[in-house]
Point group: C2
Chain length 106, copies 2
């Protein structure tokens, strides 16, 4: 995802189509992608890997936004890695717990 | 940003324009937004609030992606709050340190 070949447009095109599919999935809970991602998310949340305050629609929206952000970064591999790390780290349960504590301190 | 009035399109329109401006800023370091955000980011990184592995272009791309994600979520306030929390928590220095440790463990 991060180190794609700059001359290969197939990945970008797939992401663009996935964005359209994901948009449909986020607004239509009967979409197969919604159900499949829901099962993965449920497992990840039960095992304590992913923060509990996100649902399938939010994760799909964040994934679509991330794909959009990676397009903004372009083909700079370091930038793509950092942008992806922000979202992946933000989805962790630990990020949620730390963020909540900080918000409560205010 | 999170609780905008569903009947008020002005905020969304402003975000959409900001996205275009941000796209220009991310690719043009001479853009005023780039310099202003760079100073804010530098201060936040020096004070240990924001992860050190992001630069101005990455932060702008992530902001643009987040605005795009919030559009996907629509006007569901809980969903908008969660989507925004993922990105804000992911930008924290603590999220970076924890994510790095987990990646090293693999």
């Amino acid at each position: 995802m991060v180190g794609e070949n700059p001359t290969d447009k197939r990945f970008s095109d797939t992401l663009a189509r996935a964005g359209q599919d994901a948009e449909a999935a986020a607004t239509r809970p009967d979409h197969p992608l919604h159900a499949a991602l829901g099962r993965l998310l449920d497992r990840a949340q039960r095992s304590g890997q992913v923060r509990p305050d996100v649902d399938t629609a939010v994760v799909i929206a964040v994934m679509v936004g991330t794909a959009y952000a990676l397009r903004q970064v372009g083909h700079h591999v370091g930038g793509r890695t950092s942008a992806l790390a922000v979202v992946v780290d933000g989805l962790r349960r630990s990020a949620s717990a730390r963020g909540r504590r900080r918000r409560e301190w205010r």
